[in-house]
């Protein structure tokens, strides 16, 4: 088993003819993901990496039965792409696009929920269920299938954790990058709940960072989980008041510090790594204790 994406994923790529869309479609196809369709308005009739392109999501869904979409559309047009996907019945919408205005993200969140779909991201690296489906931009070759679920607000830091686990011979059930923006479609908490229910997942790695209260919210649930959680929080050395790249990563008014988050996670029973390299070590220990 796994969560969110699997061999049953029938993937649609929105913005498939753009530079990133083309590159990552090829990568996803190569990985073995079932990429069934692409959409670019005016692009109908083309093919990208062997994948047929349609003008509209509706057409693509009708023709190919796509059930998941990944969005590479530039920020000014990304909300429209997400609405189109949700309105067309796509159940899982993974938004890679970064720099989407927060007020648009509020609307996207609201609309997708109301349509009964789920959004991952925006500004996220996507998800991978090793050996089944790579839906995003996480390099495929660093994965190995196994018992650890990963959920992260970060992009490349996620790769770091995955690679470290794999290097130690520890595989992953599903790796989920939820995105670094203040408003994201799916929270740590929701992914933890999915991992808790997933029979394959035996331990979870949660990678957070400064800013917001998503890690604290997640900690509230970790105490109830039957599975061990290993945490890592980036930004221990970040100065208050300066935004660390991600729109969300800012310590303001003394809230959102790494210390607070580490404390919350540890209080909930998670073991928290001090450096990325420690994550794999703690995960191994957590698995061996089960």
């Amino acid at each position: 088993m796994s969560i969110l994406v699997s061999g049953d994923t029938r993937l649609l790529v929105q913005g498939i003819t753009g530079r990133e869309g083309q590159f990552h479609t090829a990568q996803m196809v190569e990985y073995g993901t079932r990429v069934v369709a692409g959409v670019t308005p005016g692009g109908a009739g083309r093919e990208v990496a062997g994948v047929p392109v349609y003008n509209t999501v509706r057409e693509a869904v009708e023709s190919t039965g796509a059930n998941t979409s990944i969005v590479y559309v530039p920020a000014p047009f990304a909300p429209d792409a997400v609405y189109e996907a949700a309105a067309s019945g796509i159940g899982l919408i993974v938004v890679i696009t970064e720099r989407i205005p927060a007020l648009d993200e509020l609307n996207m969140y609201e609309y997708v929920r109301r349509k009964g779909s789920r959004m991952i991201g925006p500004n996220c690296p996507g998800l991978t269920t090793p050996g089944e489906a790579k839906v995003g931009i996480i390099p495929g070759n660093i994965h190995k299938r196994g018992p650890v679920g990963i959920v992260s607000r970060s992009g490349t830091l996620t790769y770091e954790a995955v690679a470290a686990l794999t290097a130690r011979g520890i595989g992953q059930s599903t790796v989920v990058g939820i995105g670094g923006d203040p408003i994201v479609g799916t929270s740590f908490l929701e992914v933890l709940e999915m991992f808790e229910r997933d029979p394959e997942t035996e331990a979870v790695v949660l990678i957070g960072e400064i800013g917001g209260e998503a890690e604290e919210e997640a900690a509230g649930y970790i105490g109830e989980m039957s599975k061990p959680v290993v945490g890592f929080i980036a930004g221990r050395t970040a100065p208050p008041g300066r935004r660390m790249g991600h729109a969300g990563a800012i310590i303001s008014g003394g809230r959102g510090t790494a210390e607070e988050k580490v404390r919350a996670l540890e209080a909930a029973g998670a073991s928290v790594a001090r450096s990325p390299s420690e994550i794999a070590e703690l995960a191994e220990r957590a698995l061996s204790r089960r």
């Binding site: 720099r99 609307n107 490349t156």
Partner: protein, 387 residues
């Protein structure tokens, strides 16, 4: 992106929020004639993107145009928290009966826009929120119909207002909400929102932070950015599409991805080093961006060593490697470097660097440990190749 008080005041005024008349001055003489035009007692306020300007001496009262000139002389050219004061605002000194706080924020926890208000205005609201959260009244905008007048009235009554003050408060709150949405703000506050001698409500100070990601649809706001309030290196970085924040240490960091950049700084610190900066070259960094990043890092004379940590995903290691070499051939200054390059096209990237005699590390811990030792002079690095 931060707006100055005078810019925010002008926007609020255009939206019908009662803001006392004011003038901006860049010289003491301009401040003098502004004070003369306004008449009576005036307040002279530093326009700077830093909090606590009052405590820092950036706000002064003056009873006369000459007094205003003298106050402006003292304030203009000050540095407040390291930021230069190039402009002052001259406004009538208000006879204040009562000070409140009124703001809207992007509320990530509740996924909406939320009003925050407090009967205790004029002070740092974050402090109020920290120490006496019960003194803050909140109201969330509905995702479909937005913020509504009944909510504003409700808040006004909670703050203890009555009569026309309720109507004025509600009117100001509704307009403030419109300004928030129209300008894609992430924070917009009036502090203090004061009851002045006439018995009316007035916005005596205002602050707006605009969502950087929205600037593509607000060219008029983008044009209002005051680049003197950022380190020149930060301006240069922004131009190259790089996120750069100057810190106080001596180990320059170049990383792809904000989370990994923070984790890299944390790891440097863990091994006893002090990062000189946060630098995220972004998702699909080009050779030009790598060059620009190197230039920005090395422009800091305190930097004694550089750690480059790239985990390729979208970013391809070969592109980064070529960028590093290109950058090194373009910058004059030589400092020792430790490069860690993994992920997409890792082998090719490493081959390129090693072909140029630039050594690579395979793990972040190893790289961080080494760069700290080099910065401390505990290890003599191989000479860095270059022009």
């Amino acid at each position: 992106m931060n707006l100055h008080e005078y810019q925010t005041r002008e926007i609020l005024r255009r939206h019908g929020i009662p803001v006392p008349p004011d003038q901006v001055a860049s010289t003491p003489e301009e401040a003098e004639s502004a004070a003369a035009a306004i008449g009576g007692e005036v307040v002279i306020k530093a326009q700077v993107h830093a909090g606590g300007r009052g405590k820092a001496g950036g706000v002064k009262l003056a009873n006369s145009p000459v007094g205003a000139r003298e106050a402006a002389e003292q304030i203009l050219g000050m540095q407040i928290k390291g930021l230069p004061v190039n402009k002052v605002l001259v406004a009538p000194a208000a006879d204040i009966t009562n000070e409140m706080y009124l703001g809207f924020i992007l509320d990530r926890a509740n996924k909406t826009v939320t009003l925050m208000a407090s009967a205790a205005g004029g002070v740092d609201i974050e402090e109020v929120a920290e120490r006496t959260p019960e003194k803050i009244v909140r109201a969330q905008a509905d995702p479909v119909i937005g913020f509504q007048p009944y909510q504003a009235r409700d808040v006004a009554y909670e703050l203890g207002l009555s009569g026309r003050h309720v109507r004025q408060f509600a009117d100001i709150a509704m307009r403030l909400y419109d300004v928030f949405l129209e300008n894609d703000a992430s924070l917009l506050e009036i502090n203090p929102l004061a009851i002045v001698a006439s018995g009316d409500l007035q916005a005596l100070d205002a602050k707006m932070v605009v969502d950087d990601n929205s600037l593509f649809r607000h060219p008029e706001l983008a044009a209002m950015e005051d680049h003197t309030q950022l380190a020149p290196s930060e301006v240069e970085a922004a131009r190259a599409g790089i996120t750069f924040i100057k810190l106080d240490g001596d180990i320059g960091c170049m990383v792809n991805g904000a989370g990994l950049a923070m984790a890299t700084m944390d790891t440097v610190k863990l091994y006893g080093g002090e990062p000189a900066n946060f630098l995220d070259i972004g998702g699909g960094a080009s050779a030009e961006q790598v060059t620009a990043a190197l230039n920005i890092i090395l422009a800091d004379p305190k930097v004694r060593a550089v750690l480059i940590n790239i985990f390729g995903g979208i970013t391809r290691c070969d592109v980064v490697a070529r960028g590093i070499l290109e950058g090194l051939s373009a910058v004059e200054r030589r400092v020792p470097m430790v490069v860690r390059l993994v992920g997409t096209n890792e082998e090719e990237g490493r081959r390129i660097l090693e072909g140029a005699q630039l050594p690579t590390a395979s793990s972040l811990s190893e790289a961080a440990e080494r760069v700290v030792r080099i910065a401390r002079g505990e290890e003599t690095p191989a000479p860095t190749p270059g022009a």
